[in-house]
Symmetry: C2
Subunit: 540 residues, 2 copies
């Protein structure tokens, strides 16, 4: 059972210091504290445990330290900024773990960019020494990259020449799509194990600034101060994020507002999300008062944790059945209040948290079916969760309602930037516009008419049809379903974020399974061994 | 050695009949004529040989029958429209062949859509019986899908439930991106082996029209006539496409204007393209006179053939070295003349042929390096070929020139719709605009200044640096290079076409290598056998 809770006081691998409106987040990986035993985290290389602390830092900067406007991501080690993902760990990991690890680290880096774009928290990567692979991919996720100009400090993506895999944590896509580096220069860079240093790295666009070693710390600090001064104030003090707790009883995980019932034999899990009860904050000031116990924060942090538990600890669960519960009006009221005060830093952060968790839900490599009956609370963000599902089964019953809330018109976008309603109604964008911009509650017949339901079933058919549907789904090839869902869930245009999952990660998934990388004689397996890798040279 | 030449007179699998401005292309696969022995092409299932004839038909309709405005794609068999790609063939094929086969069939279907979009040749798919998998993917590539409304005729994509692979010939992407079918309905459709019939198929958007069996032929004919009447006239008579011939002498392929020198030990091939010599047509009427011997047609058909030879018959060649030769002005003159008369149907077709062949070049799953020296003809479409390369090596010599021609500003787009100049200069679109819209010849220093060159090398370094570069490239993992190149070559936005290769095919590549599909107990291997497939249930 994986514990995703982290706290700066007990970090093993990072050091977070707040200095006015600038934060310093320094990587200093303890080689003796790997996430699993069997490898040593040398040279600031990372594994899942290291990345959990990074994800925690970013989340805490947003909620606990809204006074911080710039975070400087650096290293606490002289010899290495970061050597990337640990090769021993990758070589020893199963395919599902490797894929889940990469997806998690991608989401962490996207959360850093999300903070920059939507939450006025800028990032500067201060590269004081060698910066390779996933280390440079972390740099690419920052707003600015500063590099020491000396004979040793290089940025590099040596995965292709040394390991026969891709820099799969967004690296390739961000080179050409975010930094818009010329494709031939990107090609050269990605095939040279030694990478680029100093002037050339800057000239070709791989870093933004280079500084002599003697002035490096000062120059970075100067720039951080300058950048912070250019950013608007958010708030003096934040709220404390209390740990997420759940009880596990056999195959049931119980949180305050979320519950998972895992049925391993059936290869499915039921995810139940519960709407708010009791008094809830009405505006940003109230939320500051209430802290992380408020439903809007707690429920989505719990959901986030639950999704990660399913990903990492229940690999054979092929289908997640979504059930929404609670009071519709109470949920919609919260969304309305958050939206009304979204100029408040904390309301903004809460809305962004909800959006990120919903994107993690969209990107689940599991089938997702929503069951909507008279007990359901298919409203607002819970309706978004429902629409994110591969199918929606609804009971033909007057008590069943679908309520589009105020956040469905752009506040909770998918990875490719579209709303779930627009993504659903690609052939009728004007219908999507209308539905999204006019929050309303529909009975089940109208909801069906409007296209929100896949199968509307009457009372007589419900049990049997649902049972058969669930059984059928989990009988199919998990790989084929993953590829199919990745292709059908994201219609329309792609952007940098969605290309990371759609194009880059798809190729990486393939490469991870190929003997040239992970076979007995493959490069990832043989890394560090005296014999070099043997390749099947056929190009496909 | 694969012969890609086909001619309607000797088709085994299709019947092409021209009836005024409507053509009838009927699939009637001869089970006894598979492309390779070892399987039987039952129920109008197809293999590479069947698809070569289809590709040939589309090409001939465009060049030989410009009077045709609508092609009706049908079946010559009562019991089956098309059962899709032959499973026995897929099960028995190597991974590289499967991938190359899928890429080729994708390009064929895209050429049908290209004819519709850019060449006023519309297509109607007339589905008279069961239409499954690749059969329905062919239908999806047509402009309209008409289905017999009876109890037997269904459209289906049974790959996921029956074979544990994806409908990888554009099917998934076209469902949501081209036909804009609701993603939950697409999900249902892609997981039901039996597919959809009649009214439901139409109601959910999987077909456009349904007709009773008794009226089917008449209704389709009626619609074809009506559609043809709505299209502009192109021309009464076309030109004849003579077969493409080449001499093979050991590892050298010699065409009229193209040459390949394969060096199997070095795992590389040199592709030499030769510009025009002698008198060439000045306008559309001249081209009609000259026929397919004209350089602009012949050279690009030869290049197309050469690329396919390399793909299918030289799987271990990892690097293609591009050399351009001939007279720059003669090449630019041809482009200028074609562009000036592009309202003429044949000039239009020639330009579209050039664009398609260049896209096939972009999509090569091989590394591509251009060598530009004083003998090079780095102009116009040959400059486009150069820019499509992963790297451009140029010799520092006053005689070396780079000439941007009149076609670089949108006439020869990449799959994702961008020009190669805009794709190269994503960070400076205004520079790309300027370069693309102002054809000019640059010396090598200016070309370097403008960013057209990766490495500018002087005479002393040239031989050694080039040799080392070529050797280094072919030493790396072929899989990692394929994934890297696919990610770096296509920056910026994606569209339906590029998503077929970038998102869908990447997932399919992965799935093809997974034991759940192609292992001893995988679904593709066990298809038709008494035992059902066994799956590793871990979802990734």
């Amino acid at each position: 059972m994986t514990n995703f809770n982290r706290h700066p006081d007990s970090y093993h691998h990072w050091d977070l210091k707040i200095d006015g409106d600038v934060a310093h987040l320094r990587m200093n990986v303890d080689p003796e504290h790997p996430f699993k035993s069997g490898y040593e985290l040398k040279l600031n290389s990372y594994d899942l445990g290291v990345d959990m602390e990074l994800a925690d830092s970013i989340q805490r900067l947003r909620f606990e330290h809204p006074n911080v406007k710039v975070v400087v991501v650096g290293s606490g080690q002289e010899r290495a900024f970061c050597a990337g993902a640990n090769i021993g760990m990758l070589g020893a990991s199963t395919h599902p773990f490797k894929v889940n690890f990469c997806k998690y680290t991608n989401e962490t880096r996207l959360s850093l960019e999300d903070a920059s774009t939507r939450s006025n928290l800028k990032s500067i990567c201060a590269i004081n020494a060698a910066c390779a692979g996933g280390g440079y991919e972390l740099a690419l996720a920052c707003d600015e990259i500063h590099l020491v100009n000396d004979n040793n400090s290089a940025v590099s993506l040596p995965e292709v020449p040394l390991l026969a895999v891709l820099p799969g944590t967004g690296g390739l896509t961000r080179l050409v799509d975010k930094r818009k580096i010329r494709r031939d220069r990107a090609d050269v860079f990605c095939t040279m194990a030694e990478g680029l240093r100093g002037k050339k790295a800057k000239q070709w666009g791989f870093v933004d600034e280079i500084w002599p070693k003697s002035k490096f710390a000062d120059k970075v600090q100067e720039r951080a101060t300058e950048l912070a001064a250019s950013m608007p104030e958010k708030a003096k003090a934040g709220i404390t994020l209390e740990p997420i707790e759940h009880q596990r009883d056999g195959n049931t995980y119980t949180y305050n507002h979320v519950r998972i019932d895992v049925e391993p034999e059936e290869r499915r899990a039921t995810l139940t999300v519960q709407g708010p009860t009791g008094d809830q904050p009405k505006n940003g000031a109230d939320y500051e008062q209430a802290g992380s116990a408020a439903w809007a924060i707690r429920a989505f942090r719990e959901l986030d944790d639950a999704l990660l538990q399913l990903r990492f600890d229940h690999e054979e669960i092929g289908l997640i059945v979504l059930k929404t519960r609670g009071d519709r009006d109470a949920l919609l009221q919260i969304e309305q209040d958050l939206q009304a005060d979204k100029g408040h830093w904390l309301c903004n952060e809460i809305l962004l948290l909800m959006a990120r968790v919903l994107r993690r839900w969209d990107l689940n490599a599991r089938s997702m079916y929503a069951l909507v009956d008279a007990d359901s609370n298919c409203a607002g963000a819970f309706l978004e969760m429902t629409l994110a599902c591969d199918r929606v089964y609804a009971l033909e019953d007057d008590a069943v309602k679908f309520a589009i809330g105020p956040l469905s018109n752009g506040t909770l976008p998918m990875s490719h930037g579209m709303t779930r309603l627009h993504n659903r109604f690609l052939s009728t964008p004007e219908q999507a516009d209308k539905l999204a911009s006019e929050p309303a509650t529909y009975d089940v017949y109208d909801a069906d008419e409007h296209g929100l339901i896949t199968f509307l079933l009457d009372d007589l058919d419900w049990d049997d049809e649902v049972r058969i549907a669930l059984e059928e789904r989990v009988s199919m090839s998990p790989d084929a379903l993953t590829g199919m869902e990745a292709s059908l869930r994201f219609g329309g245009a792609e952007n940098c974020d969605s290309k990371i999952f759609g194009r880059l990660s798809a190729w990486q998934n393939w490469i991870f399974t190929r003997p040239n990388a992970t076979g007995d004689e493959g490069a990832l397996t043989r890394y560090g061994a005296p014999e070099s890798a043997k390749y099947d040279w056929r190009r496909t």
